[in-house]
């Protein structure tokens, strides 16, 4: 499907992404299909200034594979990775950080009725240094974006992110709001999206089990991660 920009589109935006390399770079996926009825409302239509991920990519630090997956374990035969991934998949400590409504359902998923502990996902760590998976549960506002990104960057590799709820997946019911982020995949990489407003606890557990499957398929590898919304290759 080839789409051409409409004549009225802003010219300072980058072209439509075509390669996988390009998908890694931008934080804000340029939109050329639609124009706001009031473009000035967004500070003159300027780009986002959240560029830390872009700078991180440019610095090349993310491409060093230090102690993330292989590191000192490179000497072990490749098949050992399967075991390591199994271990990682079965011990996912979420970060104890709820943003809004979904946090209650996240807690409900960990409590007696829907016991996430059964899969080894229970010890909710209060400190990001010890957490493996960031469940972004609830609406992320623009004021919260900075702290949230810092939390993500404070987590040690390997780490994963689960976007829980419509607000974190795409903006949800706050899609017109002046102060919410329209999907957290604009500021940080996301591995699993769990839609729903809020999703049931079973939904979150299903998402976490999907994450386990992804880990077993080696999805957490940093260079393979696409930053930004998941856009089809042919767009």
């Amino acid at each position: 499907m080839a789409l051409t920009p409409e004549p009225g589109a802003a010219s300072n935006l980058p072209a439509i992404v075509t390669e996988r390399r390009d998908l890694v770079e931008p934080i804000v996926v340029p939109n050329t299909l639609w124009q706001s009825s009031n473009p000035v409302a967004y500070n003159g239509g300027q780009d986002s200034e959240i560029t830390h991920l872009r700078e991180f990519e440019a610095s090349g630090a993310g491409r060093r594979d230090d102690a993330r997956w292989a590191g000192p374990l490179e000497v072990i035969p490749t098949k050992a990775d399967i075991v390591l991934d199994l271990i990682r998949a079965n011990s996912l400590w979420p970060l104890l950080s709820g943003l809004a409504c979904c946090a209650i359902e996240m807690m409900s998923a960990a409590t007696s009725k829907n016991d996430m502990d059964r899969w080894g996902m229970f010890p909710f760590r209060a400190s990001p240094r010890q957490a493996d998976v960031l469940i972004v549960a609830g609406t992320c506002t623009t004021k919260m974006a900075g702290p949230l990104v810092r939390l993500w960057e404070q987590m040690p590799e390997p780490k994963w992110c689960v976007a829980m709820g419509d607000c974190t997946c795409s903006g949800g019911r706050y899609k017109r709001s002046y102060s919410t982020i329209q999907g957290i995949d604009r500021i940080m990489p996301v591995d699993v999206y769990v839609p729903g407003c809020p999703p049931r606890p079973e939904g979150l557990i299903y998402g976490m089990m999907k994450l386990q499957q992804l880990i077993k398929d080696r999805r957490g590898h940093w260079p393979d991660r696409a930053i930004g919304p998941t856009v089809p290759e042919d767009l």
Partner: protein
């Protein structure tokens, strides 16, 4: 001799609210001091350190801030000297969104405000819109509203109990209270179709009539509810450590509570039996027989025990609703598109945390011209700054939990 340090001495660095976080290379420190000169008297006073004091930045991600509250604590050792709550990390602009939505859609934005007592967030705007429209709600709908509302109140108080215990270090109460909460929420899901954000109340009634699954779940739960609540409380009420920590902590007297505009259980714990269900009756509450519990101590333990008493009263109300519920329609006859006459309406109800109020202005179009949401969490969180100084760090969490704020309601 005390040395003081003002914000001007600190080299400029990025604000924590700025997404482009850059740590100062040489310092490597992130002080919560704002990088600009103080703009108000209070800010200047707070962000000036005396000898031996330091700031601790609690939040926006902290296990016991009940969401994304950020509290800057000024501590001297373990003692909290002063604190400055920083809000807005969950500000979603609901009031503005409501002004851009029509009357039915506006109710949909209400649910996520106080997400563990959503029905009360819907109730006050619905009542305000009904006042604007001069609609008479069918009696059966009123009974269903009270019934589901009181169930939601019990769920909310159950979570309060769990969180309060969790912030005091207890692990088990929250899991036990979540069992009750899950049962109630599943029951309401059978009634409303959603587990948390019910979106059940409509202008002129409720969305649907009682159904079989709801009634059977409710009956099964009611038969064992009292025993469950008693066993959950036995875990805490007879626990010496818990009682010693909560008693005499964060005492607030009646005059101060009224000055702080407090309502609900937090006000009633100081000795004023002020409950909007009795003080300014609405719905069918005048026809129901229930007590307004109140306590005189005004401390954290009183606030906790008072909520537990309220749970018992709610059970009474549910029982009466089930026995007295009349037959009839559950929705008033209304046009699809609502255009109230220009005017203003104010409606307040008693929720699990206090007074939920909505002030709606209509300009004759199908969208509210202005919709002001008054939320008790927002008001009560304010008094943390009054109650905490002089106590220890651990008490900050206990006091905050005993006031029971929900950040969705605080930040709107």
């Amino acid at each position: 001799m005390t040395t003081t340090r003002t914000p001007f001495d600190i080299p400029a660095h990025a604000s924590s609210d700025d997404p482009r976080v850059t740590l100062d290379e040489q310092l490597g420190v992130f002080e919560p001091i704002p990088p600009y000169p103080p703009r108000t008297e209070r800010e200047a006073e707070f962000y000036t350190l005396r000898d031996g004091e330091m700031f601790v930045n609690m939040g926006p991600q902290h296990p016991s801030t009940h969401g994304v509250l950020r509290v800057v604590l000024k501590i001297d050792g373990e003692k909290v000297v002063d604190l400055d709550p920083v809000l807005g990390y969950l500000h979603r602009g609901v009031e503005k969104l409501c002004e851009n939505a029509d009357y039915h859609q506006a109710i949909c934005y209400m649910d996520p405000l106080e997400y563990i007592s959503s029905l009360f967030c819907e109730w006050s705007p619905v009542m305000a819109f009904e006042k604007l429209l001069d609609v008479q709600v069918p009696r059966r709908a009123e009974y269903i509203r009270v019934l589901s509302g009181e169930l939601n109140r019990i769920a909310s108080h159950a979570l309060f109990m769990g969180w309060f215990a969790l912030d005091l270090g207890g692990l088990t109460p929250i899991l036990w209270s979540f069992i009750e909460r899950d049962e109630i929420v599943e029951m309401l899901a059978a009634l409303t179709g959603q587990r948390m954000l019910f979106n059940y109340f409509r202008i002129g009634g409720v969305n649907g009539d009682l159904n079989h699954e709801f009634m059977s779940r409710l009956g099964a739960w009611m038969s064992k509810a009292t025993a469950h609540i008693d066993s959950n409380q036995a875990l805490l009420n007879e626990n010496e450590i818990f009682v010693r920590r909560a008693r005499g902590l964060g005492v607030i007297d009646t005059a101060t509570a009224l000055q702080m505009c407090m309502t609900g259980p937090n006000l009633r714990a100081t000795g004023v039996p002020f409950d909007i269900r009795r003080a300014h009756p609405y719905s069918i509450y005048p026809e129901l027989d229930f007590d307004i519990p109140s306590r005189t101590e005004g401390d954290c333990l009183a606030r906790y025990l008072l909520r537990m008493d309220e749970v018992r009263q709610s059970l009474r109300i549910i029982d009466q609703c089930l026995h007295q519920m009349p037959d009839g329609p559950v929705m008033a006859k209304l046009p699809r598109l609502i255009r109230p006459r220009p005017g203003r309406a104010y409606a307040a109800i008693e929720g699990p945390r206090g007074q939920y109020a909505t002030y709606a202005i209509s300009d004759g179009t199908d969208q509210p011209y202005r919709m002001r949401i008054h939320d008790p969490s927002f008001i009560h969180l304010q008094s943390v700054g009054l109650l905490t100084p002089g106590n220890l760090i651990a008490d900050t969490m206990a006091i905050m939990a005993s006031l029971d704020p929900i950040m969705g309601g605080v930040d709107k």
